[in-house]
């Protein structure tokens, strides 16, 4: 436990990432307190630049960008995280079953995984979304989750295959533990680092996909989110008119949450795969190594 804490303390990147994510989540949760106005209310003239009264300016419709930004965080972050969790759960279960059961089940699941993997996601999402008309956050979630689980399933499957032949699994089987127990009690805990990477990666992907869909106009226009803010700004030609605040606020929000998640993911990668480690510990080791080599040369 101490070693784990030490590892975390050394990971400055992860701490910065977590702080960014937590700050944005806190903002989303506290939306009624820090932005008490209705995000859809007309409060000013069209496309006003930032002032004291409207710190992030107003949209074409005269809505307060700051209020929309704060309330939009709710939908965007909630849908992103929920979708990420759904993608990870699907991928982990399918990967675990394929890897553990093996045989024909594995062959069929692996074939399905690889097939869904090569179908271009976004065009498929657009097909589904355009037939469904405008889709609410829940439908966007379902569509994204159903088309993007294969990445995680592949990773989980190959890791499960590697774990399956280990002695502790064989031992468990010989004791007569039931299959579900071996999967959930013996295998799953060993897959946790992988699931962590998968989860953060899936959330990143979900946010990218959600933003793309909403930007293309498939979101529910009445639901304020960062993606629909971008869509509305694009539709009112905010960029050509020079209303940078209208595009800039949601763009900064999405970029920030992406940055936070990326920093966390980078650290997860390093923890799960020590070979990839860079960071202070490695540079210290390399410096020592260089010094030792120099000493050896000098001694010769």
């Amino acid at each position: 436990m101490n070693a784990a804490l030490k590892l975390i303390r050394q990971q400055r990147k992860a701490i910065v990432g977590v702080v960014i994510i937590l700050a944005l989540c806190l903002m989303a949760i506290l939306a009624p307190v820090i932005a008490p106005k209705n995000p859809s209310a007309r409060v000013g003239r069209s496309h006003q630049p930032p002032t004291i009264e409207h710190v992030m300016g107003t949209t074409k419709m005269g809505r307060d960008v700051y209020t929309q930004f704060v309330w939009g965080a709710r939908t965007s972050i909630a849908v992103g995280f929920a979708t990420g969790i759904a993608i990870t759960a699907l991928g982990t279960v399918i990967g675990l079953i394929a890897g553990y059961v093996g045989g024909r089940t594995d062959a069929a699941l692996d074939l399905a995984t690889n097939a869904v993997l090569v179908i271009p996601n976004i065009p498929l999402l657009i097909l589904l979304a355009s037939f469904a008309g405008t889709v609410g956050p829940l439908a966007i979630m379902a569509i994204i989750a159903l088309t993007s689980w294969p990445w995680g399933a592949r990773m989980t499957r190959s890791q499960t295959l590697a774990l399956r032949t280990r002695d502790f699994v064989t031992a468990a089987r010989m004791i007569g533990e039931p299959g579900w127990r071996i999967v959930f009690v013996e295998l799953l805990p060993n897959l946790l680092p992988l699931i962590g990477i998968n989860l953060v990666g899936s959330i990143i992907y979900a946010i990218v996909a959600q933003t793309t869909l909403e930007y293309l106009g498939f979101g529910d226009p009445l639901q304020v989110s960062w993606g629909t803010m971008l869509y509305n700004a694009q539709n009112s030609s905010a960029i050509i008119l020079g209303a940078w605040w209208d595009i800039g606020a949601p763009a900064a929000g999405i970029a920030l949450i992406g940055l936070g998640l990326a920093l966390v993911n980078f650290t997860f990668d390093e923890i799960a795969n020590p070979q990839l480690r860079s960071g202070p510990a490695l540079s210290r080791w390399l410096r020592l190594n260089r010094a030792r080599n120099r000493n050896l040369e000098a001694a010769r």
Binding site: A115, I126, I240, F266, S278
Partner: protein
């Protein structure tokens, strides 16, 4: 050079899946697809559009199996129906007009990013833990996490609208006649700069990350130590011994990323008003031009499958172990 029947099976299933999706989704809507689509069109339902939809879906009262066979027959003869928005042009005509531009954009971006990303990854792995590595590698992960929409809008605003360095739309200067002359080709590349630079960060990030981790494990191999022991320059060892072999996982990753690249290009083309498949898809989806949207999915799936097949072939040629096995 042989491609395993397993891979071919995967591609076949993916294609069948896309076809079945295309066939099923419109029929899942309440009522017959024709009525539902006409209802969706609302005020946009011109007589021409209704005609196009009816022609596309044929006898909707026939049994599902008959409808499916008819649909397959249409696909086999490359008949994807008639566009609703550009009636009476066929879907194939509408799509092939824009496909070349998307291909140009995506291929240029991939080549550019391969060059940059692989070099950055190789150098970062070589100087693992150094300052270069600690800056470039986390940056790559961040570049993967930022949606192309954001990069596109920022680039457009900074370089297109504020600084006015680059044109903000179209694939070439409309006052020029298309042809193989310097002015036209130059204009094509000039117009492609911003879209390509928008597509690249994601690709560079992915290539850098994959290259770095695969290069790190390659650098631990005996033949790299051997190269060093022979006293070769670090450039030769890094690129001739290390990077050359570490490239293989990057190729695999490239094939899997193509779907995401197409997604990125859709958004990029919309933002920069670039006349590729993405913009066509967008105008089609705004107009609820279902035949075009369906054709688009099929086309992008086929493009992805074709590219995957190509990577499989290249892989077989590049990897000496697979080359040996085939002989």
């Amino acid at each position: 050079m042989r491609i395993s029947s397993r891979r071919l099976g995967v591609y076949t299933i993916a294609l069948v899946f896309a076809i079945v999706m295309n066939f099923t989704v419109p029929r899942l809507m309440p009522g017959t697809p024709v009525d539902a689509m006409i209802a969706q069109l609302g005020s946009r339902a011109t007589p021409a559009a209704i005609e196009a939809i009816k022609a596309r879906f044929g006898a909707v009262d026939a049994p599902i199996a008959t409808q499916f066979v008819d649909y397959l027959k249409g696909l086999a003869t490359l008949d994807l129906g008639v566009s609703v928005k550009y009636y009476p042009q066929t879907v194939v005509a509408v799509l092939s007009r824009s496909a070349l531009w998307t291909a140009f954009l995506v291929v240029t971006a991939i080549l550019f990013s391969l060059l940059v990303g692989v070099t950055l990854g190789a150098v970062a792995a070589w100087r693992r833990g150094g300052r270069f590595d600690t800056i470039v590698s986390p940056l790559s992960v961040v570049m993967i996490a930022v949606p192309p929409v954001i990069i596109a809008l920022t680039t457009l605003f900074l370089f297109g609208v504020s600084l006015r360095w680059f044109p903000v739309g179209y694939a070439y200067d409309p006052s020029l006649d298309p042809g193989l002359n310097f002015a036209f080709v130059g204009s094509v590349f000039f117009h492609a700069i911003m879209p390509v630079l928008t597509l690249s960060p994601y690709l560079i990030g992915e290539f850098q990350t994959t290259m770095r981790s695969s290069m790190i494990s390659v650098l631990g191999e005996d033949y790299v130590t051997m190269g060093r022991a022979k006293g070769l320059t670090s450039m030769t060892v890094m690129f001739g011994y290390g990077a050359r072999n570490a490239m293989l996982p990057v190729l695999t990753n490239l094939a899997l990323m193509l779907g995401a690249v197409f997604g990125g290009s859709i958004v990029t083309e919309i933002v920069f008003n670039y006349p590729g498949l993405g913009l066509t898809l967008f105008t089609a989806s705004v107009a609820r031009d279902y035949p075009v949207i369906q054709g688009q999915l099929l086309m992008m799936t086929m493009a992805t499958l074709g590219a995957n097949l190509l990577v499989d072939i290249i892989y077989g040629l590049v990897d000496p172990r697979l080359r040996e096995a085939a002989q």
